[in-house]
Every structure is written in C-alpha cells, then in structure tokens.
Symmetry: C2
C-alpha cells in the first residue's frame, strides 16, 4: 500500500475538493486555518500545509499573505456539468462507481456494483410479458402515451401503498423513466441554485452527482444504525434551513440501516417544524422481509415525496420509476416532464412491468431473492470478517454490506489496485460528503460470490 | 365567433404574457408605451389600454403614476415550473397542444396532433422485434446498461450519417430517451439562467416550454419558406449574442419549410462569426424524399449539435433519441445523463430499434409512408383551400401543413370551439414567440382524414 502520510494528504485534499464541489465552500470563501483543520481532521499541521500547498498548485485555492487560503473558483466554469468536476481523484468520485458499474465488461467482477446479477432476475416472467406485448394493440407499440398501460401501473402502485396503510389517488402518482429521473424532476421543481439540500453521510453516491448538477449546497448528516443522527439532523436544520432532505429510510444505501420508529417520528417532526420537504427514495422496499417505518406513510404524502423504481427487483433494463406526492406537485412535475422529455417511460416497458407484477410469480420471485440474499449476506459477512473486513451493521434485508477495512488500509487505493485485477469495488468516500469513509467499502453480497474476490482482497491488503 | 375587439385585447394580453414567460420582459421592466405598442400591433390605443388594465387586474403588471406600466414578477415564483406558468389562456399555451395530444382519448379527432396515426406505423416489424427480444440474453432483459445494444444502434446511426457525407465515430453519439431529452441535456450542459436562446418564429411549441424550464430569454427569428430570415438572424445575433440557436432545418415544425443551400451557408457563417452553438433537431429526416441542406453536415459537427429520434417514423412508444456532437460534448452529456437519469434509453427499446432498422422492411415502410403522405397532403390542401384555409407552403415532405385562416378568424378561439366538439387543433400562437400567428393553424395531414373535421371547421368559421 502507499505510505500512510501520502494517503492522509490526499484525503484532506479530497475533503476540500468535495466541499467545493458540494458548494459548502464557494469561490472566495476562506478555508479553515491550518491549525483548526488539523485539529478537526486529527492530523498534524504539516499534513494540512502539504494538502493546501498541493491544492494551490492545482489552482483550486489561493493563499493571501497573512490571511490564509481562499477558494479561487477556478474549477467552476459556467457549465452545469463542470459543477461536478472538481474532484480529480476519480477513484473517490461519485461518477467512478457509476461508470465502472455501467461500462466495464462481463469479465470484471463487481462486488461494488449496485444491482443484482442477471441470473437473480425474473427472466421468464419478462419473456412472457414481451411475447404477450408482441400480440397487443397497435397503439401500445407506437403511440407516445398509452393511458391504459400507465393507468394500470399507477393502480397497481396504489394497491401496494394501500396495503402499507397509505391511501392515495391516481393523480398522486407520476411514472418516470427511472428513480434518478424522479429525483431530478423533483429537484427541478423545488430547487434553485444556491439552495441547501441535506443528504445522509454516507449516501448513495449519485445523489451528490445529481445535486451538483443543480448547483445546490450539499450538507451531510451522519447516519447511525437506526437512521440519521437525530440531534445532528435537528442542529443542521436550524443552522442551514435546507429546502430538501433526500434519504433512503429502509435498507439505506450504502449502509443497510433502516429507520427506527422513534427516529422516523423525530425526523418528520423536525422537518415539519422547519417547513422542509423530504424525498424518500424507497427503491429497496421489495427487499424488506416486512415493512419498516416510512416517512411517507407517517406523513401521508403531505411534505414527504416518495419515489421508487422497479430496477432492483424486476429489471433495470425496463427503465421505469415513479413519484408519489400531493396532487399539486404531481401536476407541476407532469408539466415539467412533458417540457423536458415529452412524457414518461416507454408505454411498452410500463406494460411489461404491469404484466410481471400482476402475473402471480413476482411475489414468489421476491421470496426467493430475499431468501438467497439472507444466505449470501451471512456467508459474505463471515468471509469478509475472516479477512479483517468488518460489517458495520447486519442489515435486515437487501444486498449491501457496509464494511470497515483493517486499520491503515485506504479503500480508494485498494479499489484502484483491485480494478487493475478486474475487480470493481465501491470505495467509501464515493458515498461520503465529509470524505470520512476512507476506511469503508460497500459490498453487494449477490455480486461477491467468486472466491477470486476474497483472494485478491487478502493479497492486496497485505 | 367572439367579437373581434375582444380577440384583439386577448391577443395583446398574450403577447405580453409570452414576453414575460420567455424572459424578454423581466420583473420591473417597463412595458412599451400605449402609443408605441398600439402602432407596433396595428390596433387602437384603447385596445392596448384595455389589455394593460386587464393584465394589471391579474397582478402581472403594475402602473406607476406618470411613468407607464411595469412587470411585477408576481407570476414568477421561485420554482422552475412556475417559470412556464404566466400564460393563462391555455388555448395558446404551448402545453395545451401537448396535453390535448397526449391525454385526450381515441374518440377525439386530432388534426392538430404531432405524430402519425397508429395504422401508419410499422407494427409487424415491431412485433417481430419483440418476439425476437423475448428470446434474447438475460442481461438485455434486466441490466441497466447493455453495451451491445447501444453500440449496435450507434453504429447504425453512423452508417446513415456516412451516407449523408458526415463521417464521425461512435464516441460522438449519445442515445437518449427522446429527442426532447436530447435538447434538455444540451441545455443543461450549455445554458445558465439568463442566457439568450434563439428559436424560429413560429417553432415547435415545446421548445418554448423546455427553454422556460431553463429560465433563459427566448428570442424568435421569423421563418421564411427557405428557412430563417437571414437578415433578421444576423441582426438578432448582433443585438442579443445568443448562446444557442435551436431549429429544424428540414421539414420545419410547424411550417414545413426546409433550408435552402444559401440560407444554410449564411446561417452557419453568422453563427461561426459570433461563436454561437446550433442545435439542429433532425426529427423529420426520414420523411424527406431526398436530403436537403443540413447545418450539421456542412459544419461537420464542430459547432452544430445534431439531435433526432425514432418517434415519428418507427415508434413513439419505444422512447429513444440521440445526440451527435463533438466527443468532448458527448462526454459531458453522458456524465450529465448518468447523474440525472442513470443512463440512456431502455436497452430493450434500443434493441427493438436496431432490429427494425436492420430488418430490411424499414426502408420499404418509409417509401410507403412518404407516398401516402404526398397523396394526403395534396388532398387535405385542396379541401382546406376550398374552406378558405390556405397552406402557407406546400412542404416537400412530412405531415404538416401550416395554414392561414380566412380574415377575422382567430385560431385560438376556433381551437377551443372545436375541442368542445372533440376535434383537437393546433392554434398558431402556440408556436409563435411573438404571438403573431393567431391567423394560423398547423394541420397534420395524416390525422386530417375524417370528413367531420372539414364539416366542423366550415360550420364554426361562419
């Protein structure tokens, strides 16, 4: 492994880069003093000096004689995408994990990937749906909108929500092309550049990439095994009055944590008191053995917006997500969806989802997947623990294990080394707004089956 | 019909509303004086006074004693969607046509609709593609990205471009979920709120809705039968230094005009001199009998970005478009697409398109569609002319006829009346940034077959 001192400096540099990218530090803002930053980060002042010097060499910050270091704004040219650019260390860049997952070929093992392997998915049901659609009405195959297929899917969702105790109407659901597009539309409706948005620390890495495209300030709240740290949450609300909080309440990505009832109640109360909107990303709901607390259900969709998709348990190829919210918001979101993508998901793919969900085999498929995941989770946890890689929590469902590496091992460096050997990992700091997760890796237990993974980890960690 | 005086007042009110929505008039800007506006619009000063009074009653503008009327900004609350809101008269709102087209049921006749009827589309080829995909690899059915299907589609596009004399590489093409999403991504990459964007006047109504969501200033350039008015174009470039120009070069929506070689050359030269980027929306290309001048081809994709989709000739249900541009832009757009929708179109739908395009029957289908459209165009033009509704141009292809109504007939009022009788029209001002097209309607000749349409028009125009 690289020397520890070098890693620390890089770590500090990344903390500053992420603060700039997340607009916590803006052009001409002053950086923390060397002494204070050294104390916060528990490093020697000389490490901070080295990090600041190197960032200055990159042109990202500038020293002013006698008054400290300032953000230059050199890395924030006037393009939306460039707002996501300042992180140079691609191995902790939120994009790195996305790109490696999406673009690498089948010869790469992907314990860091965010979805199930193909052979865990309900292919027979999907093939059957395709055959059935090949015999359907002409209009489904060629028209822009097919009111029937989208209405059928919205009704199915209503039925599922009603089972959970959430009774809403079809005008409270909008179908989207993905869970990500759902969040993006909500951000476009509710946010303006410069607003503050709260996320969990760590959180799904793409939340950061998405929010940077919206040019908002991103603040992280530390996550505990029962959801966000409530006191930190309340303090952050007072200090920053954020417009939005985006979270996974159940089987949180990357940690696998689920909200306790008390945390759910206090988070919702605090958000209400402050008039803050919450986006609850419920993408892992079908992996739960039974329903854990949900903000959207407690709240009845007044200030909470629920989003989800079918990518994790049915098919990521069909590209379909949804937003459930108050009818007024849905109307605005629907107009915005027409303006920016001329409608929702392909009617063909919504019809496929309806066929699979209504086809009777989907619940059995979920039971099987959940059972396999339980076994895989126990097995992978045991094998990783034997290597000194410790699960932070044994989640109640899903496919993630958030694991702490042995002392002195940096996950970004390990990920880079493993990639050279065709093993794609998800290093902790890709998920962390505070860059405090260098010692963590997110494992997908369903994608961590090949013995080569454990052997390589063992060898490279030495 | 309603009295002419009322129509005029409403017309003026809409001109002001659109100027505010398009950010040509911003909060606290002064409105033109009554005398000047009356002269410009060729109405009596009392009509302007009435229009201003009514807008003041709506709270959109405010009189200041002795100094005229000012924009209040009351209709521009801090939400992206609200930026599209100020137009109250929903019958000339760009959204009106979209919503009526997408949401009304099959009992409504839709001469105003922007696509072909289902029975004009290649259903057998699509059904065959679906059956074939139902037998394909597991990964195509369930994975997020399927490099093969997207690569195959990009290669097919390259082949078509090469036939046109445009030789580019696969890293210059990005697949999107629609032509609209293609433009939206480009706007997100290149525009910031407050930038100026040029469109044709009239232009595809959704360009305005989309650009309003980006909070940019929208300026229209009058269109002629051979493309934009070159002198007005050059003048506007000097006056406003726009960042972007969005246009249909061939079979322009709504007019059916195509660029002449001279216009193409002068537009591209003027854009180059000014450093302006052009988005060429090539969505109607497959309807052309033979290739007319294209800015993207002349330019070789340096400052021109080409976008297109398969919605008009293959299927709107499959939801797939593309962007062809310089590799640097494609890289930025691809990152932005991952951040905001976690990837491109459904791999299943891209595979469907590949199958149909490569299947051998697509060219025959296009030949047939073009032949049917030629006959329908001549027939509809004749029947409309008999009612005093005159085509502004006989387009060389496509399904649009841009027609002028008899003197004194207002297309918005006619559209509202027709809608009550289940006939959906596309009134001219939905396309016009200057609101100067009240006397025009856009007809889709393939959707204007039912005799009830002509009978109803005749009766209501009396």
């Amino acid at each position: 492994m690289a020397t520890k001192e070098l890693t620390r400096t890089e770590e500090l540099m990344n903390v500053i880069r992420v603060k700039i990218a997340n607009r916590v530090l803006n052009p001409s803002d002053r950086l923390p003093s060397v002494r204070r930053f050294a104390a916060t980060m528990k490093v020697s002042p000389s490490t901070v000096v080295e990090a600041y010097d190197r960032l200055e060499a990159e042109g990202i910050i500038r020293a002013r004689r006698g008054s400290g270091f300032y953000v230059t704004g050199a890395d924030l040219p006037p393009m939306a995408i460039a707002e996501m650019g300042p992180i140079r260390a691609r191995d902790v860049d939120p994009f790195w994990v996305s790109k490696q997952s999406l673009e690498t070929d089948d010869t790469v093992l992907k314990p860091g990937c965010g979805w199930l392997p193909p052979d865990w998915m309900p292919h027979e049901a999907l093939r059957k749906a395709l055959r059935s659609i090949s015999r359907s009405d002409d209009s489904l195959l060629t028209d822009y909108g097919n009111a029937q297929s989208t209405l059928a899917l919205r009704r199915l969702l209503l039925g599922r929500f009603a089972e959970e105790g959430l009774n809403i109407s079809t005008d409270q659901i909008l179908l989207t092309t993905s869970g990500t597009q759902a969040i993006d539309l909500i951000c476009r409706l509710l946010l303006r550049p410069g607003d503050t948005v709260l996320v969990d620390d760590p959180c799904y890495f793409n939340f950061q990439a998405l929010l940077r495209a919206h040019q908002v300030k991103i603040i992280g709240v530390p996550i505990t095994t029962t959801g966000p740290d409530v006191e930190a949450f309340e303090r952050t609300l007072k200090e920053y009055t954020p417009r939005l909080y985006i979270t996974n309440s159940a089987l949180h990505n990357p940690t696998g944590a689920s909200l306790s009832p008390q945390t759910a109640y206090r988070i919702l109360s605090a958000a209400s008191a402050q008039g803050m909107t919450i986006v609850e990303d419920d993408i892992f709901t079908d992996f739960e053995p039974n329903l854990s607390p949900r903000l959207a259900i407690l709240d009845g969709l007044t200030r909470v917006i629920r989003i989800g998709s079918f990518s994790k348990t049915l098919s990521a190829s069909v590209r379909c997500g949804y937003i459930a919210a108050s009818p007024e918001w849905i109307e605005g979101l629907s107009d915005l969806q027409i303006a920016t993508s001329f409608g929702g998901p392909s009617p063909i793919t919504s019809a496929m989802i309806v066929q699979v969900l209504a086809g009777g085999t989907y619940r059995k498929h979920l039971d099987e997947v959940r059972h396999r995941l339980t076994l895989a989770r126990l097995d992978v946890a045991k094998r990783l623990t034997a290597l000194g890689i410790k699960p932070w929590l044994m989640p109640r469902g899903g496919f993630y294990l958030w694991c702490e590496l042995p002392e002195g091992v940096d996950s970004a460096i390990l990920a880079r080394r493993c990639m050279e050997e065709k093993i794609m990992l998800a290093p902790g700091n890709a998920f962390s707004t505070s860059q405090s997760a260098a010692a963590f890796l997110r494992f997908n237990v369903a994608q961590t089956q090949d013995p080569r993974i454990f052997n390589t980890l063992k060898r490279l960690m030495k």
